[in-house]
Symmetry: C2
Subunit: 119 residues, 2 copies
């Protein structure tokens, strides 16, 4: 599917031309991570059938799992009411998190408060 200019304009991109994309495991329904997409990464995701994000830190397209092998096969993309957030339902080939936890949300607030660190 090719997204034309009208469709792309209908999304509510932020001031960096990005849209947040929540990633959920289509099978377990676990929320795995959140990342950002620009128009190019969304189109590339559709072309590949895999999650491709925009890396805000590196300033480049980021095919999830390109180095780790932990790719995310796209099952479905959902769009929220005001078209400013995407929900990607995926089949992950491995852990979503760079810590090798299955999900980036591997701790609750109590644990974070007890040990407030970033990984």
């Amino acid at each position: 599917m090719n997204l034309d200019a009208d469709v792309l304009a209908a999304f509510k991109w932020d001031d960096r031309d990005l849209i947040p994309a929540i990633v959920q495991d289509a099978r377990t329904r676990e929320v795995l991570m959140m990342a950002y997409m620009n128009a190019a990464s969304l189109q590339r995701s559709l072309d590949l059938g895999e999650a491709v994000f925009w890396s805000r830190s590196r300033g480049e397209l980021w095919r999830k799992g390109a180095t780790s092998g932990n790719t995310q096969r796209l099952v479905e993309i959902r769009v929220d009411c005001d078209a400013d957030t995407l929900l990607l339902l995926v089949e992950p080939a491995g852990p979503a998190c760079h810590t090798l936890e299955q999900t980036c949300f591997f701790r609750n607030l109590d644990e974070f408060v007890a040990k407030p660190q970033r990984f």
Copy 2:
């Protein structure tokens, strides 16, 4: 629970001092919506045991369901690896979406492409 300055500083707030919060139904595991929190709304959520966001459009605290009655009781708050996104597991008292759909993600990309509108 009171979040002290050290814990608040450990979160990675964006340039508007906000953090995105994904809301998931704790029972059905459906992703309901995404909204934003600042430190005050996070503390208020903990105090109330209900989701309280920061309304970017109105520039004020937004207790979810304050007018509609569709509050979201907090079951658990999870924090992601780099502490820049929250995941709220909730028991919703009613539809999450202002369209009265159960979830804001009520359409998939194909439907959006066919009819690219915002609600």
